[in-house]
């Protein structure tokens, strides 16, 4: 399909050929989203993170919506939002309405996701919706943005919403081929960019990026700097299909153990472990692949942004 205009700054910068960094913000069961705005400010300060994803009920939990924090991050902080939208909780009517509403609020990037199943979250007895799947959600956005209509062809009054739409890809999927083919399908119906789930293996990530090259669509590789051993351990034990490399885990553990009682020293040691792992990782990706950038999922690990990104 012909390239849709770059409506968002993110897509503009990517198309200009710059290596971009996006961050991740996670509203939880919050009435006060001060921590989201604080984190967004820290991202903005880096001068490197040009946009941030705002999650939509990750792990199937009932959390503060994504749309309002997206708006506030743009309005109050001046950082562009990547609005994550899952098809788990809304049918096509609600999705359409929300997309128009978000576009009116000035949101420019939408990341279309299936969403973790309700059975994994904190309301396991909820009725999962899945009226559309994530590919069909991209199709819906394409119809709205390119044709100015809803899925039934009814015209939107007052102009077309201006959004770019992204899709996800999982480098950890095994088997990988159906995942790649599925991404192709999403590009075909209108995805402007791809953001991947986290990768801990640079060679594997390179291979995955290589396979995605055929779609001729910018890819941001997901990375997950980890701010303490507990999170790394939890991730390793509870997120199937992804394992944190053993050396990384041991180094985090050691950093905490060696610096017990001295908070600052502990932080420094942990940051060092992350920097030693990720700085060369990112450099290698930037140098040797066609990746458009990095999606850095260091949620609530703001102090790492500066040192991690300073040489990029």
């Amino acid at each position: 399909m012909p390239k849709r205009p770059a409506y968002s700054n993110l897509v503009k910068v990517i198309r200009d050929g710059k290596f971009v960094i996006t961050g991740e913000l996670e509203p939880e069961k919050d009435y006060d989203i001060g921590h989201v705005l604080h984190s967004a400010e820290e991202m903005k300060k880096t001068g490197k993170i040009i946009a941030a994803n705002v999650t939509d009920g990750p792990q199937g939990d009932a959390y503060t919506c994504s749309m309002v924090p997206c708006y506030l991050v743009q309005e109050k902080v001046g950082l562009e939002a990547i609005w994550q939208m899952t098809v788990r909780d809304r049918n096509r009517i609600a999705l359409f309405g929300d997309i128009l509403g978000g576009a009116i609020l000035g949101l420019k990037n939408l990341l279309a996701l299936t969403g973790d199943h309700t059975a994994l979250g904190d309301h396991q007895r909820a009725r999962p919706v899945y009226d559309l799947d994530s590919t069909q959600l991209i199709d819906l956005v394409s119809k709205m943005v390119d044709d100015g209509t809803d899925l039934e062809g009814n015209e939107i009054r007052g102009g077309r919403p201006q959004l770019n739409v992204g899709c996800a890809a999982n480098p950890n999927s095994n088997p990988r081929e159906p995942e790649i083919l599925k991404v192709g399908r999403k590009v075909e119906v209108g995805a402007d960019f791809i953001q991947t789930q986290t990768s801990f293996d640079v060679d594997d990530a390179k291979e995955f990026l290589k396979e995605l090259e055929r779609f001729n669509t910018p890819v941001l590789l997901g990375l997950f700097p980890i701010k303490n051993y507990g999170i790394a351990w939890y991730f390793n034990e509870n997120i199937p299909g992804v394992s944190v490399p053993k050396e990384f885990l041991t180094a985090l553990k050691k950093a905490e153990k060696d610096n017990k009682g001295n908070k600052q020293a502990k932080y420094d040691a942990i940051d060092k472990v992350n920097l030693e792992f990720y700085v060369p990782f990112i450099k290698e990706i930037k140098k040797t692949t066609k990746a458009a950038g990095i999606h850095c999922m260091a949620v609530h690990y703001e102090r790492l942004f500066q040192p991690l990104l300073k040489d990029l």
Partner: protein
């Protein structure tokens, strides 16, 4: 066949508590596991015991019906008995219970089962599994015969989602096969990945919305011809 699970005896007893004479009706139709005359008797005896423990008398009769979901069969079988009873407990699936309530308007029929799904019986591995959700717009022709509605926890038309791990679904603790990985394997085997990569547009849930009703002659395969004949 319709796969059912018997309700708790407490729940069944609570439903029939206000009555003293009950007819317990098994079903010899497709309901699985079998809920026939023997199961009806056992249930009736358990209810009687329960009543007795509360100091009450419960009069019962156990019978079975060839197919409770067929109005004629059900009516002919039950009609001779209903006068003497003030409630029916049905061991059929929801279809049977619904049918008895419709054809026997004088007394209430209560369900002894929870109807789980329309499923198949895999005897070699001892399980019942859902193979079809009767969506009204069958996709098996493009999915290598594996149903993405019944088999995929998210009912995806364009799967897999990112949640499968080594071919297992994120829902249910990575025990069940991911339907979309199975679909991919099967289409690959038959050299039909073209079907896999095709985009499937949003589904039509209008035809999947209750209540669903089809005129018997409308469900026959030559409906279009019949319509044409009528027009002529």
């Amino acid at each position: 066949m319709i796969i059912t699970k018997q309700k708790d005896i407490e729940e069944i007893y609570d439903m029939i508590k206000p009555y003293s004479k009950i007819l317990v009706a098994g079903c010899d139709g497709c309901c699985q596991p079998p809920r026939s005359i023997n199961e009806a008797k056992v249930l009736a005896q358990m209810l009687e015991l329960k009543a007795r423990s509360e100091g009450k008398e419960l009069k019962w009769k156990a019978i079975t019906v060839l197919r409770q979901c067929d109005d004629r069969i059900a009516a002919t079988t039950l009609r001779p008995f209903i006068e003497e009873y003030d409630a029916i407990v049905s061991l059929a699936c929801g279809l049977g219970v619904g049918m008895l309530n419709r054809i026997i308007p004088t007394i209430l029929t209560f369900p002894a089962q929870n109807s789980m799904f329309g499923g198949v019986e895999n005897n070699s591995e001892n399980y019942f599994a859902e193979y079809c959700e009767t969506c009204g717009e069958c996709l098996l022709g493009v999915t290598g015969g594996i149903c993405p509605m019944a088999g995929c926890a998210k009912n995806l038309s364009n799967g897999p989602c990112g949640g499968q791990v080594e071919g297992k679904c994120e829902v249910g603790g990575y025990i069940h096969d991911c339907a979309w990985v199975k679909i991919w394997e099967r289409l690959k085997k038959f050299n039909r990945l073209d079907l896999f990569t095709n985009y499937r547009p949003p589904r039509n849930y209008r035809i999947w919305s209750s209540p669903r009703f089809i005129h018997i002659y409308e469900s026959s395969s030559n409906i279009e011809e019949k319509k044409k004949e009528e027009n002529v």
